[in-house]
Symmetry: C2
Subunit: 462 residues, 2 copies
């Protein structure tokens, strides 16, 4: 069962039951960042582990100090055949603001060929087509053309704080010729893409403290230094409004400039007009001297993801709050290091703190290194071929603006060639209300993963 | 029953029942800004109206378009005697952050001689000692030495949006020789004060819109203009970090400078060290070239009372929000006009709005004019004499930083001399968690209002 037509027939057979199973997977509120959901994350992990096990895969659950990781493997192809390691995650982002969801985030709903749920794409959708492809093939054929390993973690959305230690410990089991991180996407639904780079990530929480308690802004207005004012004053000074550059001293020092060959290979055009159509605003964020696609993939960022202080409910309260706070994240590019950037930001904020105010910058554990991989590798070629067959169109090579924190450690641990693949789209609303994924892409994803196994097997035999 | 000793004996008689009634009054969650509390505000109004009526006062409830106003009057002293109009409010501020209250805000709790509840001071506490003094005197004596009117409104905390129209309509009923707005305080508990000025107020809500929906800060970081960044960029440009001045063009144009005589009369010293002891931070807010007391009373302010945007819950969410917002208030001094200042702020924000972002500034109804009154008037003198007798110490003349929005219209409507009085303290935590008021001040307040009636009566006979 090697060619696309055989695989399409296989998909027809498993489609209905597969969709039901996918819905079950989506119903678990496996939000890794919220301690209230710890039991849900564990339940999701156990369900998926059982699902993999029932197809004949060897399944191990790694009980890390945080949420568990699933490691499943098929070594039946024998030591002469190559091994592919697939990376996914079963944890999801929080769902706030809940009131903006048109259907409940953990009650998967199909509308116009799209399935709506938190995680529908990121990453449960893409994870599930890999899982469905591998388990269906194995059940149908009793074998796979190459050896396959699956590492499906539960802490991707919080920066994989506990996985690095386990990658070190499990180095032997992880050994693979190829690593495919199937958690990214393409620029539009008819343009398949292979991703040869991701940005790294660093998240921080800034706390700004003023007086001991909240105060009345009549009596204390113009007297106490309002933490809300200190917060906006500090945050505004992290970015130059004229150039859009981040003004943290040293922030760009280690940024590697892509060479001309790399720039030529990468699809770096994306019209501002198309962006406006999709998202309702001109793409005026970031550094003004770079194109949209360069800013999205090749340049680092500092974004304020959350800001809060004082009274924000209905009505009005004339208060000077005791505290204000912000959540800040940086996307990093080669060769920036999260620990270096975190220190630069912390030092800068210290310098910007006015008298009468105290600031604390908490740098969260679970950072991620940026990574670029070789577009001429076997694994990049295998995905490129599979996507071309399925979409009937050559792939684009792109750099992803998002981050998959664990990737660089994982590539090192398995020792193989790495690539990023996937069928996500910019308007899938990942990390946002009404996240969704196309049922057509569920099928295409199934076919791509199944085809990649055969393509690698054939390539090795050449 | 004219002198202080008689009045102290009367207080002893009514103290226990009075305290129970005060607790009942405090239990109503009469939060005027929250539509969910509309019925509670009405219930509080009805309870208080009945309380006043039962002592023999004429009571009228004005059904404004918003929360109702209580108007009570005693005209038994006859047309030859002067009339005092007392102003209070029975509505209170919201209670958030609720988790910081040590006891529930609407379950009054006494500890170490202080009563803790939302409104314990502002203004239910000060309102209740006036009410208790007048109703107790009237019940004991069957008469009062002068005519008395009480106007107790339910929308002070939202800027009295509906009262001005009624003041116009009820001009005849409101006629009085003197107006006492008993909603302010003193600088420390052994320094009685008469307040001869309040700041005006203006509140606004700034909404900053970016893309149609929330976006992923990996894919869109450095591409979309993050509304959080726009918000801090705009807000930071409303204030000069070097001088502490508000940078809205024209903001200070109409500010009246107090003359030397006024400055000499006012108690304008307040040590920074004492501020630090009370509130845990140096008073570094406001304009650097003015003293603390000048900034607190004589200078206008612009404060950010609330700020919100993106994900602010537990954990982290790498989102670029579609919207961010802030609540802003200005305290105004003579001769600033709220409608002028609101327009200046709106125009300035329009100019500061970056491309790719839309901003809207909602200017709330219910503004308040600043007011200064004559420290040499009969009514200021009556409170000064009463406080001096009760505290055994001469009063200070001060200017209050807070606002009592309706005051200037009320002074005009009644046609009498106005003064601000009260026994509030800076650390009563009004508008904040754990608001409290001293039982000793409840008694002193009772005595002061009762004495003022006699002092005015005697003065008139001289």
């Amino acid at each position: 069962m090697n060619d696309l037509n055989d695989l399409k027939q296989l998909y027809e057979k498993v489609r209905n039951k597969g969709l039901e199973d996918f819905k079950t997977f989506l119903k678990f509120p496996s939000i890794s960042s919220d301690p209230d959901n710890t039991a849900d994350v564990a339940a999701c992990c156990n369900w998926l582990a059982d699902y993999l096990r029932s197809s004949g895969l060897e399944v191990d659950i790694w009980d890390t100090d945080g949420h568990p990781t699933i490691f499943a493997s098929y070594e039946g192809a024998g030591p002469d055949k190559p091994t592919l390691l697939l990376y996914h995650h079963y944890d999801v982002q929080p769902v706030e603001p809940l009131e903006e969801w048109k259907t409940p985030p953990f009650e998967p709903t199909i509308k116009d060929g799209e399935i709506y749920a938190r995680g529908a794409q990121d990453n449960k959708g893409q994870c599930f087509y890999s899982v469905l492809a591998i388990t269906s093939l194995l059940k149908a054929e009793k074998s796979l053309p190459i050896n396959v390993k699956l590492l499906i973690e539960g802490e991707e959305e919080i920066g994989s704080p506990n996985l690095p230690a386990w990658l070190e410990k499990k180095k032997e089991e992880l050994k693979a010729d190829y690593l495919a991180v199937v958690d990214v996407g393409m620029r539009d639904k008819s343009s398949p893409a292979v991703t040869v780079g991701v940005r790294g990530m660093l998240t921080m929480e800034l706390v700004v403290d003023g007086t001991k308690t909240d105060l009345h802004s009549g009596t204390h207005g113009g007297v106490a230094f309002n933490p809300n004012h200190a917060l906006v004053q500090i945050l505004a000074q992290l970015r130059d409004p004229e150039t859009g550059k981040i003004t943290v001293p040293g922030f760009y020092d280690d940024v590697e400039k892509p060479d001309e060959e790399e720039k030529k290979l990468l699809a770096l055009d994306f019209p501002d007009k198309e962006y406006f159509r999709l998202f309702g605003q001109k793409p005026t964020g970031g550094e003004k001297k770079y194109t949209l696609a360069e800013r999205a993939g090749l340049r680092p960022t500092l974004e304020i993801n959350g800001i809060s202080g004082g009274f924000t409910g209905l009505g009005f309260k004339t208060v000077i709050p005791a505290r204000a706070a912000a959540k800040i994240s940086c996307r990093l590019v080669p060769n920036q290091r999260p620990e270096v950037i975190g220190k630069l930001v912390a030092d800068h904020i210290k310098r910007l703190t006015p008298e009468g105010i105290e600031t604390t910058l908490h740098i969260n554990p679970g950072t991620g290194l940026p990574l670029r991989t070789n577009p001429h590798s076997t694994i990049a070629g295998a995905f490129a071929t599979a996507y071309q067959e399925i979409f009937g169109k050559p792939v684009e090579f792109i750099v992803e603006g998002g981050s998959i924190p664990i990737t660089s450690e994982l590539a090192e641990a398995c020792g193989g060639e790495a690539v990023f693949a996937g069928l996500g789209l910019a308007d899938d609303q990942i990390h946002a209300p009404n996240e969704h994924f196309g049922l057509d892409r569920l099928e295409k994803g199934f076919l791509s993963v199944a085809r990649v196994l055969s393509i690698i097997a054939e390539k090795k035999q050449e």
